[in-house]
Amino acid sequence: MFDSLSEKLEKAFKTLRGQGKLTEDNVRESVKDVRRALLDADVNFKVVKQFIAGVEEKAYGQETLRSVAPSEQIVKIIHDELVDILGGQNAPIEFRGTPGKLLLCGLQGSGKTTLAGKIALHYQKKGQRPLMVAADIYRPAAVKQLQVLGKQIDVPVFHVDKKPPQICAEAIEYARANNLTLIIFDTAGRLHIDEELMQELSDIKKKVSPDEILLVADSMTGQDAVNVAAQFNETLDFTGVALTKLDGDSRGGAALSIRHITGKPIKLVSVGEKLSDLELFYPERMASRILGMGDIVSLVEKAQETIDVKEAVKLEKKLRKEAFTFDDFYQQLQQLKKMGSLESILKMIPGVSSQLRNVDIDESQMKRVEAIILSMTMEERNRPQVLNGSRRARIADGSGTSIQEVNRLIKQFQQMQKMIKQMRGGKLKRMIPGNFFN
């Protein structure tokens, strides 16, 4: 299940290197794998069909490039096509006037109320004065839920004991009277086939004319995402999509389905339960995720935020040259510490999130690893092959650890080097040895 697409294609194309053109046969073979990968990722089967047809057309007759494997070439074509459909660049949220008005809608439990809090926090940080409106009068304690969130971030919540369209209309008055600059309307979860409640949304839209209407969709949604999105779009003509729960390991094919069926951009991405867990949508990352190629782009970007860019470039070069040493590893640990919890970092690496389940990352263990490396001479760090028995004993002594621990670290380090090598070959799986830090 976790075989990445590139890995599968690698297999299919082993024999193909340097064969000239991408032919119908070899394209067809790989297309079968792509189809499977997309279906496994929950892309709607009809969307898959159309997508595949487009890719085939693009792929036929392309010269195979000498510098890359045909599999990589096909993955690139597919990846680019996916990025294209997902929407070349990220689409901003736009407010036409003051107060700005944003309406959230979607199926039950998709994450609307939590998202309301996240959006409020986001704009509050940018200097806006947001108001959240509790227009879910059905779910038990829905109003309370929003109030609790409001309190956490010090954002007012508006609610009166009336029908949702009326609540929303009065909220605008309230915002004006209190000099608030942005209104976020939280509505009840509803089925797209519930005519009465869909009509209610329609009425709300009429009453408040929102600048933005976001369909909040759970990234774990399966084939039905197309029906849901089509119906909400028909009723509301929403302006964009927010994709939630992307902190999990779903492949998120629903994103492609929704985008394909409605043409509406994905504007926000929700990646956790905390109110700060909100991100913009990056088509590149999503494409990689759907194809099962991991979120390398996110990882690199995250690294860039906190890591010295020069350092990162140097490291990348080393990775490519297979010249990764203990010293690099030590530097990387220091950088990692700056980036945040190890778990969140590792999760972005392809294949690792599934592995993480079997791993407990003990951050205190990191200290012992550091101590061991620091007890090595520069030569030892750069050329681990010189680490014979007596050197190992000295290192154990110096770091206050045991020979067994030193041996284990060296062994794991060698494994990691091997994996980095595989990564270069496009095999992104199992890059980090699971038991490094326990």
Binding site: L39, D42, L107, G109, Y138, Q145, I193, M220, D249, R357
Partner: protein
């Protein structure tokens, strides 16, 4: 087949292109059972969120049935397909009714990823046991999500059962422990434990759930008697990952699948039983407290094709 089957069927029917009409069109186009027809059947199954892998198995099984019964008329393929699908659940056919509970208190722990319908399902389960004349205690062990305790309290109030709760941000295991202890002392028939939604990929949160389970045992050694995973019926292939990890960490006894009143087919359950042989016990078919039914494979398959 009660009222809820009708409701289930209604929901599934509302899809503009429901499975049956698709299948009928497919069958209409192919007089003979040929590769093209089988391809279309495969597509239909995949469109119901049945995994590619399980779909392959079902289609293979269908081929065997077709050959064995010497059928070459495509009209009959439909009945055989239903048989193939129903067959996946044969391992759970001898199970007793969910609502026959033996030790007292009978402790049910409800787990699942965020927003699947755990809290609402607990209300529905409690409601059903209450109307059977049982005494029920709910444990508000989701101390994490905003207003989760209030939500369950409102349901307890509506249903008219007991509830044990702690502080928001408090220790969920001790709430669960207190609930079981209280139920033992009061002589209640059931304890149903609500837990916070959490993604299976978050190890530390999952560990917290294991702890809840361990701590309950201190109050009652053989509890919880059932640990049930709630799966959102609209979920696609990720349902399999959810089952795998929750099962590994908490040794599940069964699955509840919710939100089948929508247009999603809930086909993930076929892949789940195919892969994990975990019984599907209950289905959720609405937001109200009566919108619950026992899972019946034949009804489920029929409703899918109704």
């Amino acid at each position: 087949m009660g009222f809820s089957f009708k409701k289930l069927a209604q929901g599934l029917l509302k899809t503009k292109e429901n499975i049956v009409s698709k299948l009928k069109t497919a069958v209409g186009l192919h007089k003979k059972i040929d590769a093209a027809l089988l391809d279309e059947i495969e597509e239909i199954l995949i469109s119901a969120d049945i995994s590619v892998e399980t779909t392959g198995k079902v289609v293979d099984d269908l081929k065997v049935r077709v050959a064995k019964q010497g059928i070459d008329n495509s009209d009959e393929v439909y009945g055989l397909l239903k048989d193939s699908l129903t067959e996946l659940f044969s391992f759970q056919s001898g199970d007793r009714s969910f609502f026959e509970v033996v030790p007292k208190p009978y402790v049910i722990m409800i787990v699942g990823v965020n927003g699947t319908g755990k809290t609402t399902s607990i209300a529905k389960i409690a409601r059903r046991f209450m109307s059977d004349g049982k005494k029920v205690t709910m444990a508000a062990a989701d101390t994490f999500r905003a207003a989760a305790i209030d939500q369950l309290s409102i349901w307890a109030n509506r249903v008219g059962c007991n509830i044990v709760k702690g502080q928001e941000g408090g220790d969920s295991a001790s709430v669960a422990f207190d609930a079981v202890a209280a139920a033992l002392a009061r002589g209640d028939d059931l304890v149903i434990i609500d837990t916070a939604g959490r993604l299976h990929t978050k190890l530390n949160l999952m560990e917290e759930l294991s702890k809840v389970k361990r701590v309950i045992k201190k109050a009652m050694p053989d509890a919880p008697h059932r640990t049930l995973l709630v799966i959102d019926g609209t979920t696609g292939q990720n349902a399999l990952q959810q089952v795998e990890i929750f099962n590994k960490l908490l040794q599940l006894d069964g699955i509840i699948i919710t939100k089948l009143d929508g247009t999603a087919k809930g086909g993930a359950v076929f892949s789940i039983v195919d892969k994990f042989k975990l019984p599907v016990v209950l289905i959720g078919i609405g937001e109200q407290m009566d919108d619950l039914d026992e899972f019946n494979p034949r009804d489920f398959v029929d409703a899918m094709f109704a």
